[in-house]
Symmetry: C2
Subunit: 146 residues, 2 copies
Amino acid sequence: MRDDPDFDVEDFLPYLLNQAAEASSLEFQRVYNDRYGMLRNEWRVLFHLGIYGRMTASDIGARAQMHKTKISRAVQRLAERRYLIRQRDETDRRVEHLELTPTGQKVYADLRNVARDYNDALVEGLADADVARLRSVLRALAKRRG
Amino acid sequence: MRDDPDFDVEDFLPYLLNQAAEASSLEFQRVYNDRYGMLRNEWRVLFHLGIYGRMTASDIGARAQMHKTKISRAVQRLAERRYLIRQRDETDRRVEHLELTPTGQKVYADLRNVARDYNDALVEGLADADVARLRSVLRALAKRRG
DNA sequence: ATGTAATAGTTGTCTTTGTAACCAATAGGC
DNA sequence: GCCTATTGGTTACAAAGACAACTATTACAT
């Protein structure tokens, strides 16, 4: 195996991605936390339901790459706050359908707008083509299963 | 405020970055975990000491954007395993200098090589120019303080 | 139909993190 | 010098996460 002392952490993509991800989500995290006392997982679940409408915990898990226990707990807290309602599927009683309440939808709409503005600010100064390329690379990396 | 139902999570950069970061570090995480029982923070500290040599906890914190408690605990565990030694600064006795032991350096060299290979695999199929651009965008995003 | 496996979701336990409070030592103002 | 503020680092406790084990229900093979 070649031995390469010149390889720096700062070149290491997972590290760079992590730093970028953390720094770029900090500010937004404060918004959903301060305004609605939500945690990241709760925000994620809310967002998915807001965009895709009625869906099950498993659906969210598959889309968001979130473990089912995280979803279970996030759903619990969102239900307590009356941001969503749970409905048993009557043909398969293991399944629970989740849907935002009107309150939940208001919260979602608010946060979605903040997210959009925040996103605009993040990519400000970058060419559209570069942003598109960035997104596609990130999607490719995200798809890669460890 | 404009109301934009078309804005999707999948367009949201912090989300994409997180997904990419998580997916792309999974495999590597397993390596340092399985081989050396190390956690991410420990790996980060080890890596910094490996690359930059003797430095203090604060130095690492400043470079890696890591909170001092994370560093404190990581250093503790690395010291227990004799991967590093701590030396009080005699002119300012608050400060502690950290340095890898020969064992620590071996571990570092091993993981650095794995990281390099892993990184190569990650960017495989991407043009060098694209990778360079990606890095620079990520660095810019990481610098942004929330 | 009946026993085994699979699936949806929850709970329990242990580990890891976050935050704030805390020492100890130095720096700075007066 | 002396009092207060700052800095480097650790510790304590609560919150969040990982992971396996669990319940309930359905699917599937024979």
